[in-house]
């Protein structure tokens, strides 16, 4: 190339760079202008779901529940006239992906965030605090309920630790104080270990006559026969499972094959229809601690859902428990936003929505006890009923047990 052409190329590329830079800036400005105009501004919600990762089996119906609630609420005019604008994406339980999506949605104006599991919630915790974005997770780890540690994290159910206490109390009551051994099989991750220490502490505090040993269930294991062997030598009469449905079902099948007589008690993430389907006959007699009741006969709070799903040729029972759970999770968040709108006007900040959530008191769902958030405790429930699988269907066997800490 001759000298002139080269110099021209140099000048052109410089111009291109500067021009491209200016171009990007304008795009951003115009985007923000549009959203504040028009009648009542949309409430922007960011959400991440696990639709392809390790917990996709329960993540998929949960995500449908949340998305359908948004559709339902918007059809009714939104929250006080403000439509909910939810942007969501699958993150496959990959933490870096969760972070990028969070960054993106927040920079696009999301006021609140619907998260998923312990992994992503933990990783986003500091950012959520600095950015002041109320974060509703499907992880019910008790540390997330303490506003002194995580002021912007909320979850609508009973914490794993609380569920563990309920299970232990039930076991103790059933055995009228006689000594009994309990084996706790849990997911090999922070999700799984979350309730262990609190469970041990509860036994010590209330002087329950329970022997407590825990066995991790590693991912990708083909079976848990080795751990079952250890539990047998412990003489465990009860097996509490803190895991999601598929590995729990595998454990139940292994137990049945090993002719175990221990009573299986599942915490909320393995007490669902998927467990029953995968474990088949081995699921019989499983007792579930279920802060959210399964959509079976006699459970209230399913009318709205059923009438919404009728147009889609489905019903709550077909969609399952986690769908209903997702539905009401979004409903509670919407209530918090509604409280904030009433208190602080049309454009509530994250802090104001947090205050709005803390004002949610006795929010009735029908499928659970009334949900309450306070300024000291960000978990929605402290009680849960117990159901038992009889003939492949969940039947309530115990009214909600409430543990006062």
């Amino acid at each position: 190339m001759n000298r002139f052409a080269r110099k021209l190329a140099l000048v052109l590329s410089l111009a291109l760079i500067v021009g491209a830079g200016c171009g990007k800036d304008n795009k951003n400005k115009s985007a923000t202008k549009n959203s504040t105009a028009a009648t009542k501004a949309d409430i922007k919600v960011g959400a991440i779901f696990d639709l392809s990762g390790a917990t996709a089996d329960v993540g998929t119906p949960y995500s449908e529940g949340i998305r359908d609630y948004v559709e339902y609420r918007n059809a009714q005019g939104g929250i006080d006239g403000h439509k909910i604008a939810m942007t969501f994406q699958d993150f496959g339980y990959k933490v870096p992906q969760a972070e990028q999506l969070y960054q993106q949605y927040v920079s696009q104006g999301a006021k609140v965030f619907m998260g998923w599991g312990t992994g992503d919630t933990e990783a986003l915790r500091p950012r959520v605090n600095t950015d002041k974005i109320p974060f509703m997770s499907a992880s019910y780890a008790e540390t997330l309920a303490d506003p002194k540690v995580t002021p912007y994290n909320f979850f609508p159910g009973a914490s794993y630790s609380q569920q563990m206490r309920i299970a232990l109390q039930y076991i103790s009551d059933q055995n009228k104080g006689k000594h009994v051994e309990v084996a706790v099989f849990h997911n090999d991750s922070p999700f799984g270990t979350s309730p262990l220490e609190d469970g041990k502490k509860y036994i010590a505090d209330k002087k329950l006559n329970i022997g407590f040993k825990n066995y991790p269930m590693p991912a990708g294991a083909t079976d848990y026969v080795a751990q079952i062997g250890q539990a047998k030598s412990q003489n465990a009469k009860y097996i509490i499972i803190q895991n999601v449905a598929s590995p729990a079902a595998k454990l139940a099948t292994n137990l049945a094959a090993q002719k175990s007589t221990a009573q299986v008690v599942c915490l909320n993430w393995c007490s669902d229809e998927l467990f029953v389907k995968l474990a088949g006959p081995a699921a019989e007699k499983m007792i579930g601690v279920m802060p959210f009741s399964p959509p079976v006969e006699g459970v209230q709070g399913l009318d709205e859902i059923n009438s919404f799903l009728k147009a889609k040729n489905s019903d709550a029972k077909a969609k399952g428990l986690h769908y209903v759970q997702g539905w009401y999770t979004m409903a509670v968040m919407s209530q918090g936003i509604e409280n904030a709108l009433k208190a602080s006007g049309d454009n509530p900040t994250g802090e104001q929505i947090k205050a709005g959530l803390e004002k949610v008191t006795d929010f009735k769902t029908g499928v659970s006890d009334p949900i309450t958030f306070t300024a000291d405790y960000h978990a929605g429930l402290t009680s849960a009923p117990l159901f038992q699988v009889t003939g492949g269907v969940f039947k309530k066997i115990q009214d909600p047990i409430k543990i006062v800490k």
Binding site: L51, S52, G53, A54, A56, D57, G59, T60, D188, Y215, P216, M217, P218, A219, G220, T222, D223, V225, A226, Q227, G229, Q230, S233, S246, A249, K250, T253, N254, A257, Q258, K259, L274, K277, L278, A279, G280
Partner: protein
Amino acid sequence: MTRFLQLTVNGLGNGAILALATLGFVLIYKATEVINFAQGQFLVIGSFVVYNANVTWGLPWPLAVVVGILAGILLGLAIERVILRRLVGESSLSVIMVTIGLASALFGIVLMTWGAEPKPSPKFIPSGSVKLFGDVSVGANRLWAVAVAVVVFVAVALFFQRSRHGVAMRAVADDQQAAMVQGISVNRIFAFAWALAGAAGAVGGVLLASINNGYSLELESFAILVFPVVILGGLDSVLGTVVGGMIIGLLVEYTKSYMNVNASQILPFVILVAILLVKPYGLFGQVRIERV
């Protein structure tokens, strides 16, 4: 004692499945010197096709298994033809990376076609428990796994010893150029190796699905244990696969029960590194002397 026997039986069963899963990997390496990171996906795809044929299409199970094996063969052939043939001569790192990318693409395809929800395990493999001597009970599906593995490995051994194609494969593995001089079509042998790997993956995958209590995407993570087995046994030895699989299967069960679960997860990999330091070509691998 019962506990020890129980663990031994279980470990041998797991080892048999591991050996089956590893067989495909070893076949490909033996013939083409390629490390196939997508072997786990072969397990998943082969087994899901069987599920599809058996449950979704309602075919009787022998036919469904045949369909699955065919699908595995086709998959292997397609990959070899479309992708690997173009990479002849490229650095081994590039080829590894292609198989990794392939694993990701296959995972996406499986997700798209069958969804993320695990499917109930194959009913045609009996999974009730069978009582062996004394108190030791083992799932019938494990016994089936061992039986199938024995049949498959004997067939493979005979194939390599007696049949023309088998001998040709061994020739190609030994010295490609000499094999070409003898008139062996190296391309065809490559295709053959990949096809066999796909088929082995399908069979292993179905057995694994039964033991795993469901066809699920996480079957693929089982394939990680392939590496310790292959290093222990020797990257290019079929006998090593069997022995290595058994040993790793047993050791994992013993550690899980007598120590704890975390130790059992690390142990295979610590063994891997130790073997590499002490006896790099494994128990039965071909020793290529190069001391540096």
